[in-house]
């Protein structure tokens, strides 16, 4: 697999640390940690935009609207699966 297309929790956590204002120790974030809202680690809409731009740049996947982003950015595990699904459908089509 092209190394730029690798999708892993560690890699996505790296994008999260580089591009958002997380207020918790990154070591405490796992693939099931809720990222946004009061029940999560408190990321906001600006953090979402930063992550979207980072994901688009790295994987070439366009995230068009806030509803799609909300679905994809629930947690790092959900984001990993979401990206893998789109990369697979892109390579097949």
């Amino acid at each position: 697999m092209d190394s730029t297309k690798e999708v892993s929790i560690d890699l996505l956590k790296g994008l999260l640390v580089e591009n958002t204002m997380i207020k918790v120790d990154p070591e405490t974030i796992n693939e099931e940690t809720i990222l946004f809202g009061e029940e999560g680690i408190g990321l906001d809409s600006l953090d979402a935009l930063q992550m979207i731009v980072a994901v688009e740049k790295r994987y070439g996947i366009e995230i068009k609207d806030p509803t799609m982003a909300r679905d994809a950015l629930q947690s790092l595990g959900v984001l990993r699966d979401w990206i893998q699904t789109r990369l697979t459908s892109t390579s097949v089509s």
């Binding site: 809409s45 600006l46 935009l49 930063q50 979207i52 731009v53 806030p66």
Partner: protein, 144 residues
């Protein structure tokens, strides 16, 4: 290019764009602002050594980004009444000074529009070269 006199919601004392040009292709534009030696901030920043404050270079770039966003969003007539707010600043670099008599030329490109937010790449130059570069995020809502 679609050239227009810059309209922003700001009052005249806090407007740092004279003219704005919207590129015909792509989501980009360019703005100009002449630094008249009588501008209010030169007197005290600094006495005897006037420079445009970096914070105002950022404000000028943000105003250019705002004009671009509004120009891409709707009729030009709506621009003066639509306030936008700086929500984020990333990768900011001040690369040189802006002196009285210089003309700031700011190029701005819309990178991503997302709900009430939009992110832009901005770069400002004078005759001496590029003096300011940043990635800015504007919001249609004042976060409270």
């Amino acid at each position: 290019m679609n050239t227009s006199k810059a309209n922003t919601p700001h009052g005249p004392g806090f407007r740092f764009i004279d003219h704005f040009e919207l590129a015909q292709e792509g989501q980009r534009g360019s703005a100009e602002f002449h630094l008249h030696p009588d501008l209010w901030f030169f007197r005290d920043h600094f006495p005897g050594n006037p420079l445009m404050p970096a914070a105002l270079l950022l404000e000028s770039a943000a105003q250019a980004a705002g004009i671009l966003w509004m120009s891409l969003s709707g009729p030009a007539a709506e621009i003066p009444t639509t306030p936008l707010f700086v929500a984020g600043v990333d990768s900011l670099r001040v690369l040189g000074p802006a002196y009285p008599g210089d003309t700031l030329r700011t190029s701005v490109e819309l990178l991503k529009e997302f709900g009430t937010l939009a992110q832009f790449q901005v770069e400002t130059a004078t005759e001496a070269g590029v003096i300011f570069r940043s990635r800015l995020t504007l919001s249609r809502q004042l976060k409270g």
